[in-house]
Symmetry: C2
DNA sequence: ACATTGGATAAGAATACGTTATGGATCTAG
DNA sequence: CTAGATCCATAACGTATTCTTATCCAATGT
């Protein structure tokens, strides 16, 4: 039982077929067939049920999968721990799309200055995909909106922010301070796609207040929403951090009267995986960017 | 980083030199040199400090040692778990010398009848060596006298037994029932070597009672002690289980008056290692042999 | 029925790994 | 202090393993 074989086995399980796994491993398909055949001979039991071209794990195969995942994780963590000089290496950070462009540039810039030799990876993922990536050890840190289903993960809240109403410049609500929701019943709204967790947060906020926005369009990107608002397609709700990046004079951001809708931004990681010095340093960077008293330039 | 290399690395650490480790691994010395060189290149740091012929682990090497032990243990346990059919395989049992020949034959015989295909290993070890073997995963189960320093291990008491006074047949104390210690002050004693934990138990019992036996000889084996007693060299204290095996009429076993000295026999195992079905079955066998109501023939 | 997809097998090729031979450094003993 | 012994590193070479290419066979689906 050697490590390369275990890795191959896991890839096969992950991809469902030998052929696709072979591509993922960068080897030929027969190589995997041979590795698995050897492993099965070694264990004395088959690992897959080959019913035609349906590939299914046997009971033994399922048990091996669990153990192999532990083994590979332990080996990879060991390699990372021993190679960890706090200066070079790789750091994979993920964030949800409604945070990434607004909050991360500051910390990323500061981190890069402090750690110029690091290969920094940034992944934009939905909350669900981000949690999966954290659990699988594909990324070191994830920045997202709390709370989430955090089994096997740890989280640290960074800061809270309000949601704002955004209206086109010159709109009747553009002046006059905080707006009450009941003044918006006739207004058309451009909302964010449901794939974003922010969209769900806005929806539940509106439902709590018995407000049902008149939907006139959806977009998958916050930036697009902002452009649509400027073009007069409707109003929208956006997080505070999106305002800070908005240099256009065609949009005006107005606070909402009463108890403002808020979201909590936090950082998550996998406590069962090795936390590199780089990861800890980046978390510190996130913390200091989150402190309102001493804000990192959120350019 | 492959498994064979990690195993070699651990062997080198264990044996202190490449050369001896090579013998233990059954390969040539240059093979290990090359493996380590490759591993060091891979990690980017040396693992050993070669100061002359003194071989010392670097800090990184020390960290790798810990991790490598975990990895190898996990891999070995996985292989054992998957190969575990509850019928075939290997089972390594250890016991201290003052228990092994007296208590184990019964359970061993019963187990062998139920599991004829198992390769059964029995190791006779001192308490200290036994605990080390359990911690290292060299043996699956250990039978010994409780309590012991059981860090990282688990134990289950099986039964208690008394210590008896053994005297030669025809001795003045051979008849007349329980003997008070103060009647033994003038008697010479043949004691067990201090390497045995039983010897320490007897010593502390005597000290509690302010009894200082007149020592006239020491032996490393309980069987030898018994023979010496028969030959009139002196008296001795032996555990109850040693009496049951004694078919000679040259020795008489006499209980000690007052609070009798007792020892607890138990079985220990390593909860961090995979407990095979065979190991669990043997533990069950030990339990039923320990039950006084339904004693397995302690042949 | 026939094309397509996916895995097994066989034979040759590349690579990795272990062996033997040997050298150099260090510690020990006479 | 020198001779010998011990021990690790290196180089050259042979072998063994493992991958690749080519091909086949079985199953699935249109």
């Amino acid at each position: 039982m050697d490590l390369a074989t275990l890795r191959s086995f896991l890839k096969i399980v992950e991809h469902g077929t030998f052929t696709r796994a072979a591509v993922a491993c960068g080897v030929s398909q027969p190589a995997l067939s041979q590795q698995v055949a050897k492993l099965e001979a070694e264990l004395g039991t088959p690992l897959f049920e080959r019913q035609g071209r349906r590939l299914k794990l046997t009971e033994t195969g399922e048990r091996l999968r669990e153990r192999a995942e532990q083994i590979v994780a332990l080996v990879d963590d060991t390699a990372r721990e021993l190679a960890d000089d706090g200066r070079t290496g790789r750091l994979a950070v993920a964030a949800i799309p409604t945070i990434a462009p607004y909050f991360l540039p500051g910390p990323l810039k500061a981190f890069r200055e402090q750690h110029p030799e690091v290969r920094l990876e940034l992944h934009e993922l939905t909350t669900e995909a981000l949690l999966k990536a954290l659990r699988q050890g594909d990324v070191d840190l994830g920045v997202l909106a709390l709370p989430v289903d955090g089994r096997y993960l740890e989280f640290e809240p960074l800061f809270e922010e309000s949601l704002l109403l955004v209206v086109p410049a010159g709109h009747r609500l553009a002046r006059g301070g905080p707006v009450r929701l009941d003044r918006l019943r006739a207004e058309p709204f451009v909302l964010l796609d449901e794939a974003h967790c922010l969209s769900g947060q806005i929806r539940s906020f509106c439902e709590r207040r018995q407000f049902h926005p008149l939907e006139t369009g959806r977009s998958t990107q916050l930036a697009t929403v902002q452009e649509m608002v400027a073009l007069g397609h409707g109003l929208s709700f956006v997080p505070e951090m999106a305002r800070r990046l908005d240099t256009s004079d065609q949009r005006v951001y107005v606070p909402i009267a009463g108890e403002a809708p808020r979201r909590t931004i936090g950082v998550g990681w996998n406590p069962y995986r090795y936390q590199s010095r780089l990861a800890r340093a980046f978390r510190e960077q996130l913390r200091s960017a989150a402190r309102p008293d001493e804000p990192s330039r959120s350019r």
